[in-house]
């Protein structure tokens, strides 16, 4: 017999459940995760190297996990800071998922860690869809990538709690238009903070750590429009119950 069965399940329900569980588990241990998203080559690792050193100077116990399709180069660079570092090789997968991250943390993340920086796979498309149980999601773009990057990758920038511009030391050489960039960020994520940084010159270094420590200490983070649960206005989508497990069937033939 043919049946149509209502499922009404969020496609990413499993990842979301793993993310909630990981966030709660880490919060109970006093740990917050910072999820860093950007294109390949935007300077995530260079900035993170500086932030990890800053954390050591300030005696904030941090750790870093870097995900790449291949090579341990980033972990080698980050490990020079002296903080615990782990490289995750995704074997071709374009993003991290919450369950994968939890598996990698198990038995590795030192107990006294307060902040874990996760350098996601360099990719502005796929990682945007996956909550990793982070407290702070940061999307980075370098000045060489064009002012319209936030419009081209609206989900990555639209879901960020903080936007970081990197490589400002070469901004002039590449004619970076800061006003246009900020306006484009504002269009997809009104109210989000934009921080300018140069890992080479030291501009803005420490801001990421400050925001992360703030989030860890309970300072409310920015609430992106795209991330807010829609309120109901008496029309449209009346079926927002993704947890619905009771399947109802109507016989179709």
């Amino acid at each position: 017999m043919c049946r149509v069965v209502d499922l009404r399940q969020a496609v990413l329900a499993k990842n979301d459940a793993s993310a909630h569980e990981l966030r709660a588990h880490l919060a109970a241990r006093g740990i917050a995760v910072v999820n860093l998203l950007s294109s390949p080559g935007s300077g995530k690792t260079a900035l993170l190297e500086r932030e990890l050193l800053r954390a050591r100077e300030r005696a904030v116990p941090v750790a870093a996990l870097s995900a790449d399709l291949a090579t341990e180069n980033d972990a080698v660079r980050l490990a020079r800071s002296g903080v615990p570092v782990k490289q995750v090789l995704t074997d071709g997968l374009c993003h991290l998922e919450a369950g994968m991250l939890a598996g990698h943390l198990d038995g590795w993340l030192p107990d006294d860690t307060r902040l874990l920086f996760v350098e996601n796979v360099g990719n502005l498309v796929c990682p945007a869809s996956y909550d990793l149980g982070e407290t702070l999601r940061v999307t980075l773009a370098s000045v060489t990538e064009g002012e319209d990057k936030p419009l081209k990758y609206p989900t990555a920038f639209g879901l960020a709690h903080l936007v970081v511009v990197t490589k400002t030391d070469i901004a002039e050489a590449v004619d970076f238009d800061e006003t246009a960039f900020r306006a484009n960020v504002e269009q997809v994520n009104p109210g989000v903070e934009v921080v300018l940084t140069s890992a080479r010159r030291g501009q803005g270094v420490g801001a990421l750590l400050d925001r992360a420590v703030g989030a860890l200490d309970g300072t409310p983070v920015h609430a992106p429009v795209m991330a807010r649960e829609p309120r109901h206005h008496g029309h449209g989508h009346a079926h927002a119950h993704p947890e619905a497990t009771g399947t109802t069937a109507h016989i179709h033939s």
Binding site: V11, V125, P154, V188
Partner: protein, 132 residues
């Protein structure tokens, strides 16, 4: 391209539901709601879905995607608009930045059309089961 991961998640969930129902013999189609701002490309998803279904109970199942346009509402002035792509999430009427996103982030399985071990696979009385 994470559409393969998305397709595998869909197949997984449908298989689980089918296992719970116990006597499902084949899945004909799966209906998905995909918001304009969900970050998923329906064509890439359809391609991945076919591969993800191979060798499972969903082999040959059709994926039907319903696109949901992004809509937003300005909290201060109550203006409502289609956000478009790239989305505009500041108010086009008053320039306000406090916005509610009403729709557009959906990524959910609506329903599944399957065959179960009920009274054989006879079309019973109404031979119009293909119509919706």
């Amino acid at each position: 391209m994470h559409e393969m991961s998305i397709a595998l998640a869909v197949v997984d969930q449908v298989q689980e539901a089918a296992t719970r129902a116990q006597d499902v013999t084949a899945v004909r189609s799966v209906r998905l709601q995909v918001g304009e701002l969900a970050g998923v490309v329906p064509d890439a998803l359809a391609f991945s879905f076919e591969l993800a279904c191979a060798g499972t109970l969903l082999e040959g199942a059709e994926l039907i995607t319903e696109a949901v346009p992004g809509r937003a509402r300005c909290i201060p002035c109550a203006h409502e608009w289609a956000v478009g792509m790239p989305p505009r999430l500041t108010c086009p009427a008053c320039g306000g930045t406090r916005t509610d996103l009403l729709a557009g982030r959906e990524l959910q399985i609506l329903d599944v059309h399957w065959e179960d071990g009920g009274p054989a696979h006879t079309p019973t009385r109404e031979p119009i089961s293909e119509e919706r």
